[in-house]
Symmetry: C2
Amino acid sequence: MKPVTLKQIAETLGISITTVSKALKDYPDVSKKTKALVKDLAQTLNYKPNSFAVNLRTRESKTIGLIVPEIVHHFFSSVIKGIISQAEKKGYLVIILQSNESYTLEKKQIELLLSKRVDGILISLANETANYNHLNSVLANETPLVMFDKIAKLVNCSKVLINDREAAYNATQHLINIGCKRIAHFRGPLLPQNSIDRFLGYKKALLDNDIAYDSTLVYILKDMSYDEGRFYAKKLIQDHKDVDGIFINTDLVAIGAIKEFNNLNIKVPEDISIIGFSNWFMSSVISPSLTTIDQPGFEIGKKAFKLLFREIKNKKNNKKINYKDVILETELVIRESTKTL
Amino acid sequence: MKPVTLKQIAETLGISITTVSKALKDYPDVSKKTKALVKDLAQTLNYKPNSFAVNLRTRESKTIGLIVPEIVHHFFSSVIKGIISQAEKKGYLVIILQSNESYTLEKKQIELLLSKRVDGILISLANETANYNHLNSVLANETPLVMFDKIAKLVNCSKVLINDREAAYNATQHLINIGCKRIAHFRGPLLPQNSIDRFLGYKKALLDNDIAYDSTLVYILKDMSYDEGRFYAKKLIQDHKDVDGIFINTDLVAIGAIKEFNNLNIKVPEDISIIGFSNWFMSSVISPSLTTIDQPGFEIGKKAFKLLFREIKNKKNNKKINYKDVILETELVIRESTKTL
């Protein structure tokens, strides 16, 4: 059975398409009797209004686009869940695309979403992204845009963030408080703002505590994977026998490092204390469980959608859009991978 | 800057909208000079064709819908990644909805996707779903539909599956091979076909090995969570002091059980051997690491999209659609949570 059209309903009842359309929308200039007839038949035939046609009139697709670097990732899947939970409430559908940390792909996906005339776009940038023309073209197109987590400071739009620098400072300060003197840092790639900020927070905590900054203790990771965590844990021990603490840019890497230290019979936290970042569920069930910074993914997703929705509404009502930076709170979660005070 | 329309391009160049449209599509009845003029201006003005309008002509939205019970879930996020990777290649966008295991929500989401005129729908059913009218209405609407993982046998459409019964049989047989005599099963809810099949595979392995089936050793779980794993591990030990093996419906629950046994000083695998199902990444990093059935989520996602794409193409070409059941291979991954042979 092909989808039923307005035309078929009109022909069946011997009335015009316009009358059918008006009847379904309860226009006052159609008689009650005709409305009842049309509605009954529409229901019997399982008629569904064509959303794309509706779209041409209201200029709304009730669909938003979301681009994330990676989906199989505890933090991003939590964010996605938060976004969808809010979008659902407001009757929006979410098209999800994965950039695989590639700038080229991200650029193509932005173009695709614009050509689909989504009502707005949410994005966390790929690690590779250093050029923001594609984002500026979203704004030039007057499509609301909200960035979260991996953002570009230079792009003038609303953002949902945490204070990465402060969180990293607190993590490093905690390592210092429990007595660590030689603290390494496994940082993310050079471009993303959040790995820059976490590195700066680490460095500032050292300097504020009169611990000399030693650049050889900082390792720049590429794909932030479990395997990289294992690799750099081993390398760190070869390079620096005296290291007693590590602040690691993300939990997955920290979990790899713990596994490697377990294998090498290096005791965590007795020999080395480790702090991760993000608070993946996994971090609470490994042995030893991981001390980390809790980054509220679900809340970030909810807030990002709310900001976007506000901008979509304001645009519709021809109101001025004021961009907003929303900073959500993080928390140090102390578990077994760090010595007790 | 509002999106540029064909009309604006036409007015700017003093030609008709039809000519602009034809020029952009390289129709032979438009002169090369006009084509060049139109294309140059379109590029300068950052003109984007309106996909929704295109849709009215081709009757294609190049968008598919995907409904999963849960996104923050290693298996489903792997499936999503597989689907998106294939969809990307074929130029399709994926709208992702989460049913939260609710039949009511799932039904509403199907209606929403149909009203959006998606080209096809991929679905893994909610645990609650026992009525299939909403799925049959997708088929009645001639919208291609492919089910995966949690499927309804009674719905006549293509499906991507694993042989749950055989995989569960193999897991239970392995517990028997390593010497377990009192084997419990933590099963999923009563409705989903996969938890029925895993239970039947468990039972058949016992009977084939002349081990009496004891229904008090089977626990029916509700939300398949980590916390449920902890709860039932404790309860099992209170109910049955002699249990020496457990086959558990999903890894997350098995990880909860291991954690609880660790806390209770019950040794895994010396006292109790445990086998999970699905092979979440987490299972390889916990202590002891979890023996499990590897369920190829990424491959399931890829295959599901490929089947759907074939049906979308066949429908477009007015070819008959033959439904297919694709069964993917699973594998027993032996790790530390089971005794060695």
